[in-house]
Homo-oligomer: 427 residues x 2
Amino acid sequence: MHRDPQVQLLLTGNEIMSGDTVDSNSALIAQRLADIGLGIYRKVTVGDDRALLCRELTAMASSADVLIVNGGLGPTVDDLTAVVLAEAAGVPLEEHPQAVAHLEAWCGRRNIPLDAANRKQAQLPAGSRIVDNAIGSAVGFELYLGKCRVICTPGVPGELRRMLDLIVDDLAAALTRPAQRHILRLQTFGLGESSAQQLINDAIPDWPAAVELGFRAGAPQMEIKLAVADAADLPLRERCEQRLRELVGDHIIGEGDTQLAAKVLELLSARGQTLTTAESCTGGLIASQLTRIPGSSQAFHAGFVTYANDIKSSVLGVSDATLASHGAVSEAVVREMALGALERARADYAIAVSGVAGPEGGTPDKPVGTVWLAWGTAEDLRTRCLLWPVERTLFQTMIAAAGLDMIRRQLLGLHSEPRYFAQRRAR
Amino acid sequence: MHRDPQVQLLLTGNEIMSGDTVDSNSALIAQRLADIGLGIYRKVTVGDDRALLCRELTAMASSADVLIVNGGLGPTVDDLTAVVLAEAAGVPLEEHPQAVAHLEAWCGRRNIPLDAANRKQAQLPAGSRIVDNAIGSAVGFELYLGKCRVICTPGVPGELRRMLDLIVDDLAAALTRPAQRHILRLQTFGLGESSAQQLINDAIPDWPAAVELGFRAGAPQMEIKLAVADAADLPLRERCEQRLRELVGDHIIGEGDTQLAAKVLELLSARGQTLTTAESCTGGLIASQLTRIPGSSQAFHAGFVTYANDIKSSVLGVSDATLASHGAVSEAVVREMALGALERARADYAIAVSGVAGPEGGTPDKPVGTVWLAWGTAEDLRTRCLLWPVERTLFQTMIAAAGLDMIRRQLLGLHSEPRYFAQRRAR
């Protein structure tokens, strides 16, 4: 067989079907299989229903090369995997000596007797091969159903994680080639999925089919993924990356999972410099995002949340005259907020934000979504007004990111304007 | 049809199959359907593969009464739901005027042009009925495939959540019986799932079977759900609620989705009073959570993020002597932080926090997870040291909540100590 084995995944558990538990096991299995270049073709989830489970298992095994079953190995009556696999295979359940030995050792370490409920976990389909469970009482097991290798795994995430080490090694050894997808993930800010797609379509019409292009929109960041199946195509992927960077490189924050706040802290720490924040409409979100990052205290010492006008004056020294003549959402005010914060925090860089987050507070002149940003140093302080009329918390998220992004751009000496300046221009 | 409609769920997206994204949407859908007494019979997940999607959709629609499709509504080439549903139904894609109007309004609010990529989202299977998307650009849509009602929903969780309001109402209206479960949801802080279960087991051993009891653990809050199938059992549910409130009532923040920050703001606004924050280890998270709430400016005017020691002195007036003799994580320091913030913000209440969020910075005396909290008014300022040794961001989340919770308790005049004071007692 020269193609990759086709892998399917069958999950069982009433708690996943009811929504009481979010299924993170299938993501874990998918990630581990991706490490050896295997994808999951199809995934089915059902509750603890014996007839339905048996039907699904039989149908999936008839089309897949490998079927991983997750869940239903435990000692209770709604743990049905062994009985269902035996039924589908037309073999009896038998007490498996290796599974009994595992249970005895497991109970022995805990100084508890092996009771009937636990002993049920040694009743496996005749002919099963055991997969060791390094942590829990229930062993995994596998059996061929026709040409399909069915591997039954525990639903407890910690146990599954350890068992996947064995399973992945085993599957990798059976692969006829060193199959690994080569994935590059780039984090961006300020690009939408559709605009990025459009830009690439227009600028790189000859994008090669061998380089899979994917987008994952998040708020505030969007991930662009470039993947090739064959290492021989890596130079091709590199050329694509190069062209992408020529096109929107200033919007790329970094590779992998790089977050804006972490990137800004990294740049500041490398220079031994510090950043302070003076936040009105973002209400502490920028400070909070910075301080989530371990070690942030190196480059972030102080932040000010000046929500009310009199606080902008008393805490940051914004002049009452400026507030009275320009209003709180104005270039003059964010400028004075930034300068006041820089002085009080004795910081090198500042971000100051004042805007109308909504839903109330908009005026014809300054509708909901209007925001003034100031960023930079005391000597090189820049400002911009944007109109970003989205729901309140999304507005706060995007504006906090925009502030961090402008500092990133300044620290990197990027001179091009971000695309969102044009798209979010205030009228 | 006197039985419940059989609901199936088809999820699409390479990012779910690859494990890059953990699917939380299907749990959300399941929870919302459970509210109207509907379960999900079967769930299939596949990547963005046109042929496979079409095969699954056709097969599922042939056995289900309702098929909810999630994902694949976006503007990019890997968003295939509309084209696949059209293919399965044997109808053409047509530009839907209502969807175009929605896109125009959506772009108009953002002051961006409606480009070709976005306009693709108005190409829907002929005969589709639109389901409004209150937030995003992609409308939902539904179409009958034979006798199966196929409802296509967006993969973005926030958009899905809002759309489910419409879908659930619609499905509930179509039920042939008044199949509404009567659900009371109570938000709590400071109780764990298993300890709450144990408490109830011990204190209310005669809990009636007709009142279903459920827990959904989140961070920082946990939801307790009381549900009865029959309106005749509502008095029974009320008695259960009463006994629950006698048992842990001081830990109950409110009904429905009530969040701690919103509750505190509501209590403050009702009295015309204000709160300020002086945050070290929570780094602005408390301020940020308060200012997420619309109208928070009424009761929250100023917050201080004093991450570095010299800033605690220069900005909040904490004395250098106190810092030198007690250290930043100390009762004396959070007390001076709170008093300094109260004075500078001219606020009625303050929360001050200083702790070791980790992963670095712990000492034998003050290990990672140690935190001093001060809360209250200048006249009635209280303090407490807790040890909450969890991962950094979870620590910040829980401590921010604890601070808000103590203000809530003070505003409500609750005198009992929260259970987490005993559980998280510092050595």
